[in-house]
């Protein structure tokens, strides 16, 4: 670096912006190699930088995540499946809650409708009430016998 003083260094960088760009373009591979080496040697710093970058731009991160998910549906499925296998107990609890609460997703499953299908909320609510009545009548008949 030509200067030790940070302010002067910045000034120099602004002045020689084109030169720097030219040098970067000429040494693209070397820069890439060096930055990869640095990242390998400093994983903690990389993690911290990434976290602060994500904190600063939550919207950008969300958009990036959504784009990645749309481009990698197979990977998304695999990650979800691995998570479910690794958190079996949690998953059991979630499914139990899903059933007892008669959530919209559970009712969609019961109706064998895809999540992408546009279903009127009134139909889901009607099905929920129907299931509630059926459960209640079943409970009653079990209590009698």
């Amino acid at each position: 670096m030509p200067y030790r003083d940070k302010a002067k260094q910045k000034e120099w960088r602004v002045k020689n912006k084109d030169k720097i760009l030219e040098w970067r373009n000429a040494n693209r591979e070397r820069i890439c190699e060096l930055s990869k080496k640095w990242a390998r040697e400093n994983p903690e710093k990389v993690k911290a930088t990434r976290a602060t970058r994500h904190e600063k731009n939550p919207e950008k991160r969300k958009a990036q995540d959504a784009k990645w998910k749309a481009n990698n549906p197979d990977k998304v499925k695999l990650i979800a499946r691995t998570f479910r296998v690794n958190h079996l107990e949690q998953e059991k609890q979630r499914l139990k809650k899903y059933r007892t609460d008669l959530s919209d997703g559970y009712i969609r499953d019961k109706l064998r409708l895809k999540s992408s299908d546009e279903v009127p909320q009134a139909l889901i609510e009607a099905k929920r009430l129907q299931l509630l009545i059926r459960r209640m009548t079943n409970e009653n008949s079990n209590a009698i016998t």
Partner: protein, 62 residues
């Protein structure tokens, strides 16, 4: 009972009546069964429109 909203309201009434004991479980069960048939027919219609890649135009669901 011509729309799903009316069906939902009717089912809500049946559920309340069942809880308060105003109707018998068997009777409520039968009503729920009929409601299930109506819901399933609406579902089939929805699937039909989805397969044809058309926007659903179902009077029952309006």
């Amino acid at each position: 009972m011509k729309t799903v909203t009316q069906l939902r309201d009717e089912l809500a009434t049946v559920f309340d009546d069942l809880r308060s004991g105003e109707i018998k479980p068997k009777e409520a069960g039968e009503l729920a069964n009929v409601a299930g048939k109506m819901i399933n027919s609406a579902k089939v219609q929805l699937e039909y429109y989805a397969l044809r890649k058309e926007t659903p135009d179902i009077t029952f669901l309006k």
